[in-house]
């Protein structure tokens, strides 16, 4: 029997590669998604690194929830599985071969995407293959269970494809898979907490960027394991090998069981305040940033200092006329608690957040505020520590905590933490570029530093 199961596995793999349609959906589509993401997000540094979790989740989701159910239902429609039922082997043993084939196909598609991303865009490869491999296994386990349920509910190929789209599209559009969570409104982020896609993105992204085992993101992994187990149990209970659907009452019972895991995940995440967009909880602190990491930072494509996005005033002239508010700003900054407390990395992050808040809330003096913060950092921090702290903010924008308002500094309004992180990273790049003389800063150049 083992020999038969093995032969079935090999034959299933071989037959997949004889199908032009399967190759197109399995490999061409992921490449197209990669190119699409590359066209939109290539200005990232490194390009596509912060979107890799989304890209890979789309590939795995498509394979498990569209590709596999379509293949299984097509075979069932033909009567292939009906014939297999007459063999002296448990049918689920053959199904396990199908699932293993699907894992291999998804794995090779992911490998192809990563290879192309690295070659075309310079996206770094995963930092830890073991942890990334574990993350991949957890994600595909979760999605294959959903695929089995879809197979059990569809009578024919058109209906399984429709059902697959009902799962695929919401996750892509509002589930944090296609459109990043930070770009979605609050209600979408809450809703995404109930869907496996959002956890898959977090898990893959985190392990891609930080491959250390001690920083393995256990929470999204656990959520996905629970969802996957519930879906697999329900799917195996419901799947039929004749071309008929299970009894309606049974379907309702077991699908409710599977969906209950989604509901539980969402409620748990909301209760634990984990519904906010993914973040790298265990990013290395600024102390772990080395010179090589600092040298890897580039300064191309920075927003114009005179523009509306992260503006930065030129070096201040001591005789420059300023408003009363700006004259009061620096003394307040020197006594501002978040700028004084915590390690250098967090202090620098807090100060950058002030510049970001001024920018986001379109403060009248945003450019000058940004300059004053820069000057304060140059004067107050050890140069080496400052370089490492700025590099840490650039390379780990989601690490640490973030200040979302600074009324004590005279700044009105509040900004969303994700946008603050993004703007802080841009300011950090502008500041570090000036410190390292990679960017011309006119007064610095005139005065010799």
């Amino acid at each position: 029997m083992i020999k038969g199961i093995w032969r079935h596995f090999i034959l299933t793999l071989r037959l997949n590669f004889r199908s032009g349609r399967a190759i197109a959906y399995g490999y061409i589509m992921p490449i197209l998604f990669l190119i699409g993401f590359g066209a939109v997000f290539r200005s990232g540094d490194p390009p596509l690194l912060h979107e890799i979790g989304q890209i890979l989740t789309i590939t795995i989701l498509g394979s498990a929830c569209l590709g596999m159910p379509t293949a299984l239902v097509a075979e069932r429609e033909k009567g292939v599985w009906r014939r297999y039922q007459l063999l002296p082997v448990p049918i689920n043993a053959l199904l396990s071969g199908v699932l293993l084939v699907r894992i291999i196909l998804a794995f090779t598609a992911v490998g192809l995407q990563l290879g192309l991303a690295h070659w075309i865009y310079g996206t770094p490869l995963p930092s830890g293959l073991l942890t990334f491999g574990i993350a991949f296994a957890v994600v595909i386990f979760a999605f294959l269970g959903i695929g089995i349920i879809l197979t059990s509910q569809a009578k024919d190929v058109p209906s399984v494809q429709a059902l697959g789209q009902c799962v695929f599209l919401p996750m892509i559009l509002i589930g944090g898979v296609g459109i990043p969570l930070y770009a979605l409104p609050d209600w979408c982020r809450q809703l995404a907490a109930f869907m496996p896609g959002r956890y898959a993105v977090e898990l893959l992204q985190s392990t891609y960027e930080d491959g250390s085992l001690q920083h393995f993101p256990a929470y999204p992994a656990l959520i996905l394991m629970v969802m996957g187990a519930a879906a697999l149990i329900a799917g195996l209970r419901l799947i039929q090998w004749e071309q008929s659907r299970p009894e309606r009452s049974r379907s309702i019972l077991w699908i409710t069981f599977a969906i209950a895991s989604w509901a539980g995940a969402g409620l748990t995440s909301i209760f634990l305040d984990r519904s906010t967009p993914f973040h790298l909880i265990h990013s290395p602190s600024f102390l772990a940033i080395d010179e090589m990491a600092i040298d890897s930072i580039t300064y191309d494509g920075l927003p114009d200092d005179h523009g509306i996005y992260t503006p930065l005033a030129p070096p201040l002239n001591p005789d420059q006329r300023m408003t009363h508010r700006m004259r009061e700003f620096m003394p307040r900054l020197k006594n501002w608690d978040p700028g004084l407390k915590g390690d250098t990395g967090q202090r620098v992050r807090n100060l950058l957040a002030v510049a970001a808040i001024a920018d986001i809330t379109q403060d009248n003096s945003e450019a000058i505020i940004a300059r004053q913060i820069y000057d304060f950092m140059r004067a107050d921090f050890d140069p080496q520590e400052l370089n490492h702290a700025l590099a840490w903010v650039i390379l780990s924008p989601h690490a640490g905590s973030v200040v979302s308002a600074a009324p004590e500094l005279g700044l009105r309004g509040e900004a969303h933490p994700d946008i603050i992180r993004e703007r802080s990273a841009w300011y950090a790049r502008k500041y570090l570029g000036r410190v390292l003389r990679q960017i011309q800063d006119s007064q610095t150049e005139r005065s010799g530093g």
Partner: protein, 305 residues
């Protein structure tokens, strides 16, 4: 002849609708038993219950004395099947699928030998989608007989085949029977049943209405005998109709087909009529009781009941 398959009081209901009710029959080694019946008679339900694709509501099915419900895997090893509505992957080759199926049996049958047995050696590497209808059916037979099972169930094996392909297929089936296999054959083609079945079972509305050899069923249940008559001069059809025993008179080209309920008397009277009218018989041919007639009578009668 050893009994290979024993079906006792098999009943399967679909809600309030009767699939099959209290069906009982046996199939022995080296015998082909035909399962006949109109659409919806219960043939497929019976076959699916035997194969384990459906769970009967009551009754017992034994293969080589082993209960199929208590030891389904053991029973499956002893059976082969060719299902009516089964296809295979478009791009699989006969050799690949035969090797796959062979690997589930011990000792593992030789796939090349099996394909050769049904004349498929030239097509070992031809993809399924490029096989002709006859070749596909022979591949299905290959898979059914692959492990030399004691019992083989064939459901409409010649469906969709042209006469030549059907003839080939029937010869293959008879050859396997002669090797000792017990074969249960579901078919709509009564001439198939007449030609190759040792016994037939007629189902209607889920119940058995008759069992026996094709000849005995035909003679017992046929009401009329066909007489084909060709004469030198065209006879008056009213004269033919008035012959005792003649039920119907139908023209057929330059001849007449007379259905007779009493062929002996009818033949005598035909002779007297020819003499009386100065006509001459050029051809007279009597067809023995037909299975078709018996089948129609059995299934219409039981439906009327």
């Amino acid at each position: 002849m050893a009994t290979i398959l024993k079906v006792q009081n098999l009943t399967k209901l679909y809600g309030s609708r009767k699939g099959v009710s209290n069906i009982s029959f046996e199939v022995g080694s080296g015998e082909i038993v035909g399962l006949l019946g109109p659409n919806g008679a219960g043939k497929t339900t019976t076959v699916e219950c035997i194969l384990g694709l459906r769970t009967p509501d009551s009754g017992r099915i034994e293969v080589n004395g082993i209960d199929s419900r208590s030891e389904p895997d053991t029973v499956r090893r002893m059976m082969g099947a060719q299902l009516q509505s089964t296809s295979l992957h478009d791009s699989v080759t006969p050799l690949e699928i035969t090797r796959l199926f062979a690997s589930f049996y011990s000792p593992e049958p030789d796939a090349d030998q099996a394909l050769n047995r049904f004349g498929l050696l030239p097509q070992t590497d031809t993809r399924f989608q490029h096989l002709s209808g006859g070749q596909r059916q022979r591949l299905a037979l290959t898979l059914a007989f692959l492990h030399n099972p004691g019992l083989v169930i064939l459901d409409e094996p010649s469906a969709g085949l042209d006469p030549a392909a059907r003839q080939d297929l029937l010869e293959c089936i008879v050859a396997e029977k002669n090797k000792g296999s017990a074969i249960l054959l579901c078919t709509h083609h009564l001439d198939e049943a007449r030609r190759i079945c040792d016994r037939v079972i007629v189902l209607n509305s889920g119940s058995t209405v008759a069992q026996g050899t094709p000849a005995s069923l035909a003679s017992l249940h046929s009401e009329t005998v066909s007489i084909r008559l060709r004469t030198a001069q065209c006879p008056n059809p009213l004269d033919l109709k008035s012959i005792p025993g003649i039920v119907t008179v139908t023209p057929s080209g330059d001849a007449w087909i007379l259905a007779s309920s009493d062929p002996n008397q009818s033949l005598r009277e035909i002779g007297r009529l020819m003499e009386a009218t100065g006509n001459r018989i050029l051809e007279i041919h009597m067809e023995v009781a037909s299975l078709e007639d018996a089948f129609l009578r059995l299934t219409r009668h039981s439906s009327a009941l």
